[in-house]
């Protein structure tokens, strides 16, 4: 089983992780380290990747971690292999290697269940496709009989004319201006501005510095130098609470880092507002429940229980709870970082619709994404980022996938 989210021990080395729990023993019954490293290197090179088996997991980037995870599963020689969104962190070439391996395994008679929300992948690896929606099997088809539209149709339960519902909004005043922002070794002299109602796309491959940029803008990290002006006024944010006070919101790429898992929906939605209140101010729980019920209805969060911990919600619904938090806090500037990572097509469309709705209300949106299709479709303006610096800027309609990639890598 390969999980979408990783199950590696981050303080151990690649080789240790690959053989976790079943280390080869030497004759004395001790762990045979030489054998481990040799076989780890072997299985990694079988995947066609170059990772040092002695490296600690936490020093690897996400793609390398994902590949390690896959290597680990393959050493166990499974007869049935369950892959859950295995490519969500991989580059195109790495993905091709993985598909090669899958095809080889298939030829060897291994049964493979491949879970994905990327429609392009399905015909490449699958023979049969089963579509699930809301916990039900919608149908199973041989892959030859499916095309993109049929699949989307099955997944969404309606024609998806508006997967990217972008409306044209006339941008207003400058909401956020950043000048010469730098962070030692990570970000280099970034300057840009976002206007009210504008969706600014920031495109870059993983690790280009987008995460750090978002964290600095939101006051979670201090920049080495540079100026940030919110609503025309220069501001120095030292804490997320100040960012929220200035009407900012941040949707993290890792939803689990935004939610308090064992709390139900209402406290999760109001958390950012509660942080603005003095510690002994009493909260109106009745009103909170009503507000939350409103968002649950409005964003069709399912299951619509206000008592169940958000831990049990699906990724898409968790993401909607995160968004509801910023809707409720009345954001003026919203930073969304990979807003659709690991959520299904229908939820994606809903998330985009929400983002669009916010833009119509005059919210300035910074959309960080490495998904070219969504950034091309949603952004009014795109900045391309590479190694911590902007390499190109495109207006809506000017950019193509090729142009984005050329400038990003």
């Amino acid at each position: 089983m390969v999980y979408q989210e990783f199950s590696l021990v981050s303080s151990m080395t690649v080789a240790e992780n690959i053989f976790l729990g079943q280390y080869p023993r030497s004759r004395l019954g001790l762990i045979d380290w030489r054998e481990i490293h040799r076989r780890a290197e072997e299985s990694l090179s079988a995947l066609g990747v170059d990772i040092d088996p002695r490296a600690e997991i936490r020093r690897l980037n996400v793609a390398e971690q994902q590949l390690t995870e896959i290597a680990r599963i393959l050493t166990k020689q499974p007869r049935i292999l369950l892959l859950d969104e295995p490519t969500s962190a991989l580059s195109d070439t790495e993905r091709e290697t993985l598909f090669d391996i899958i095809r080889r395994l298939q030829a060897r008679g291994v049964g493979i269940i491949y879970i994905s929300h990327l429609l392009d992948e399905v015909p490449e690896v699958g023979q049969r496709v089963t579509v699930l929606r809301d916990g039900r099997v919608i149908g199973t088809l041989p892959v030859e009989q499916t095309d993109r539209d049929t699949l989307v149709n099955m997944m969404v339960g309606r024609r998806l004319a508006e997967q990217y519902p972008k409306t044209v909004v006339e941008p207003g005043e400058t909401a956020l201006r950043v000048e010469n922002l730098s962070l030692d070794g990570v970000l280099h002299d970034l300057s840009f501005e976002v206007r009210e109602g504008e969706i600014l796309g920031i495109f870059g491959l993983m690790g280009a510095g987008q995460v750090e940029l978002a964290r600095i803008l939101f006051g979670l990290e201090a920049p080495t130098s540079g100026r940030i002006a919110i609503g025309g006024r220069e501001t120095r944010l030292r804490h997320a609470a100040q960012a929220i006070k200035h009407g900012m919101g941040l949707l993290l790429r890792d939803r689990r880092a935004s939610l308090v898992p064992m709390q139900p929906i209402p406290p999760n939605i109001t958390l950012a507002d509660v942080s603005q209140v003095p510690p002994f101010r009493f909260l109106n729980l009745q009103k909170e429940a009503e507000t939350a019920a409103g968002y649950v209805r409005d964003l069709s969060i399912r299951p619509p229980s206000l008592k169940r911990p958000v831990f049990y919600l699906s990724g898409g619904n968790q993401q909607k709870v995160c968004l509801a938090r910023w809707l409720f806090s009345g954001v003026k500037i919203l930073i969304v970082d990979e807003p659709t990572r690991g959520i299904d097509v229908a939820a994606k469309a809903e998330v985009f619709a929400l983002i669009d709705r916010l833009a119509q209300r005059g919210v300035a949106i910074i959309m960080i994404s490495s998904e070219m299709l969504e950034i091309l479709a949603m952004a009014d303006r795109i900045l391309v980022m590479r190694a911590g610096a902007f390499t190109a800027e495109f207006k809506r309609g000017e950019a193509t996938q090729e142009l984005l990639l050329q400038n990003a890598s």
């Binding site: 339960g157 309606r158 508006e162 519902p165 409306t167 939101f218 979670l220 804490h239 997320a240 609470a241 960012a243 929220i244 006070k245 941040l250 993290l252 689990r256 880092a257 935004s258 939610l259 308090v260 898992p261 064992m262 709390q263 406290p267 109001t270 958390l271 950012a272 509660v274 942080s275 603005q276 209140v277 003095p278 510690p279 002994f280 101010r281 009493f282 909260l283 729980l285 019920a293 649950v296 209805r297 409005d298 964003l299 069709s300 399912r302 299951p303 619509p304 229980s305 206000l306 008592k307 911990p309 049990y312 938090r325 809903e350 619709a353 929400l354 709705r357 119509q360 209300r361």
Partner: protein, 360 residues
Amino acid sequence: MPDNLPAEAGAQSSPGETVRRSGTERLLRSIRDVVIRGGPVIALLLLSAYLTSATPYFLTESNLANVGRRTAVTAIFAIGQTFVILTGGIDLSVGAIGALAASVSAVLMTQQVTLFGVTVGPVDFGVGLLVALAVGVVAGSVNGLLITKGRIPDFIATLGTLEAFRGIALIVTDGLPVPSHLTATELKGYLPEQMIAMGSGSILGIPTAGLIAIGIAILAWAVLRYTALGRSTFAVGGNREAARVSGIKVDRTKIAVYVVSGFLAAIAGFLLAGRLNSANALMAGEENLNSIAAVVIGGTNLFGGEGGVFGSVIGALITGVLVNGLNLLNVSAFYQRIVQGSVIVGVVVFDQWRRRRFGA
């Protein structure tokens, strides 16, 4: 503004639907809930029922009052501990803070003290109580600051302050019980009667300490449920990073819970000294573990984010009743410890099983 988003929302169930149920169904469900969730309450009832039938002395007014007074102290310690554990921390110094607060105020209330050339005391009961509370708040802040600004794990920080606070208490009391015939001034050779009344008196037949504990429990419950501080406490323990990116001041919340814990430990220590009619630097030695046990038996997650004060009060009652019952049944003190340990582990094993089986 075109609101085309929730097109299919109407077809889906609305939040209200999960609530609408027939009366019987609701009753059955709530019985099931009590059985599943109310493990500690049921354990307490069963234990009391057994002791009532096993010994004629259990259900007597004087015995129950005795249990109430003892449990009240543990319960107050445990309520403070609950705040800390809800944030994912642990306070090993509560017993020491209680002893320090009681010692400092007892010394001030019975002796003349010369500090920096100024001679004070013996002070009134009111001043003594305020001093005790202040000691608790200061000690709690020290814990909180060490953990947040010093970036030390909660466990280590409070283990260190536990020793240090005991040491300070020993210095303050000279290692003697207060009041003692060696140190008492001619002015006052005993603790104030109000303090003794708080610890061992009754109001309308109910132990005063028990009433104080109940009052504190209700207040603490309200703080956790209805205030921003309560929310922050749960958020920090449930997911520290999420709390941070939502603007919650994590450090401030942590300091606040340790101050709450120190403050309540001071009250508990004060009550304990009142009950014993004596304070000393090494009192309340078992209250660290007792309070943690009470919190855990009460269903609060040791990793934070889940639980509440009423569970902890029930947990304190279970341990209190258990000890009392074993005494009444003439079980040797050595075996008592085995039974107590087994009960703590047993309740938590049951609780873990329940969580896995039925979800939270």
